[in-house]
Symmetry: C2
Subunit: 267 residues, 2 copies
């Protein structure tokens, strides 16, 4: 649970973070990246509109005072062997993944030389941030799609291997705004014994070692599946309603901290 | 918790129940009302379209074989003194509240002679059913409005006294379909130490004594606030995000039973 204390922090954002106003969430990312001395690499792999999306983050991070902001665009897997991109990562003090489709991040980057460079920088203490799709890809197993505002069934969620920056965790984004409790619970029944984190829009967790802290407008919904006393997964068909008894729930707004190892809020 | 064992059952439906097909939910209501010998009173107080809505349930209940179905329309408080309506209730073996606006049910009926007649029949063992607004009005304190798909804040919910057929319980309807976890949690923080029941569409709980059983397509989300270890209600302003730690959650589809006294699923 959590990440090694020597590794850089993770800033996992539920999407639709403020980029023009106070930028409460992005501000924390830039601070962790070195503040006025930050060199930020913006990874646009997830989006089909890398130029527009890249431009938005260049503007936001520069306005907050980052020293340099470079877009690392990967529109196909081959782009993740490009030396220019790898060089940008090697110089970066903060690496930020934009929104889009989380499957593209895994497909274009995972296991590539660019991926190795990112992991190396993370091990050296560089912060990795991601919003929406860039948040979804953080765990070992990621939610790639499924129904919003539905009760839990196997049909309600589809999953695939993620980037694995934050193990033993399930992440869902736009959580309250899209009513995604059902699909997060379905994901947890399919991959039990992990914590599910539902992250609201304009809200983030900042993970350092075994703990995370919440920043932003909304809240984090922590679903602790480890206390479950019963589920009906055995023999369940795809469209049948899931039963799940005894899971624990924590709703944590800005300022609250949670220990990923003990599964308890730090009060 | 629960209702007295001598009282009639309660059938609390999350709205949008099937009325033209298998009628899995309404079928159980008619069965509890006496099956082929059922005399059903349809209460249309909640709706601004009492004739159309009444007609829908007359058709559905007759198709399922009820012996008689009568609409008791109350479009203002004065109508709840009408002897004809009271007589219909006195003869009824099942009383069903339609959807609409739950505030109208309380405003037009609560504390009236019609209300006394309904309570008397319930004490004598007659089943009371309700869908959507007719479900919302069941508890002592009812949710009358608020935001769907939002994270919990005091703003997210507005409450008022309900009819009190099922005490110490909070009910929300169209639960998964409208992503209402946030507002149910907000309601529970405002009125703690009760169970919150989120009822999906075309899904119902059948309450008998201390237990309920689930029927229908979706699931019941039980939120047990009594295990909560922390909330931030003290000093909280209306638009600020609620914190709530350590509540227990059970997702119960069709066939599952739950004990309202022990707060435990009957497995």
């Amino acid at each position: 649970m959590g990440i090694k204390p020597t590794h850089g922090a993770l800033v996992i954002i539920g999407g639709a973070e403020d980029r023009d106003g106070d930028c409460v969430v992005l501000r924390e990312f830039v601070r962790l990246a070195g503040g006025m001395k930050a060199h930020i690499a913006v990874m646009t792999a997830a989006t089909g509109h890398p130029e527009e999306v890249g431009e938005v983050y260049i503007r936001a991070f520069k306005r907050l005072g980052a020293e340099s902001v470079e877009v690392v665009g990967t529109e196909r897997r081959k782009d993740s062997e490009c030396e220019e991109g790898i060089y940008t990562i090697e110089q970066a003090t903060g690496i930020f993944f934009t929104g889009g489709d989380q499957s593209r991040i895994v497909e274009f980057i995972k296991g590539s030389p660019l991926c190795d460079a990112i992991r190396k920088r993370h091990q050296e203490g560089v912060v990795i941030g991601g919003t929406s799709a860039g948040a979804a890809m953080m765990p070992d197993e990621m939610i790639v799609g499924g129904a919003s505002v539905s009760n839990p069934s196997i049909n309600a969620v589809s999953m695939a291997p993620g980037m694995g920056f934050l193990p033993d965790i399930m992440v869902d984004q736009h959580f309250a705004q899209r009513g995604r409790l059902g699909r997060l619970l379905a994901a947890l029944v399919l991959h039990p014994a992990v914590l599910g984190l539902g992250i609201d829009e304009d809200t983030a967790i900042i993970v350092k070692g075994d703990e995370f802290e919440v920043v932003g407008q909304g809240a984090i919904t922590v679903v602790d599946e480890s206390t479950a006393t019963h589920n009906n997964l055995e023999g369940l068909l795809k469209d049948e309603a899931i039963a799940l008894c005894g899971v624990k729930l924590h709703i944590l707004p800005s300022g609250y901290r949670f220990n990923l190892k003990t599964h308890l809020p730090v009060l």
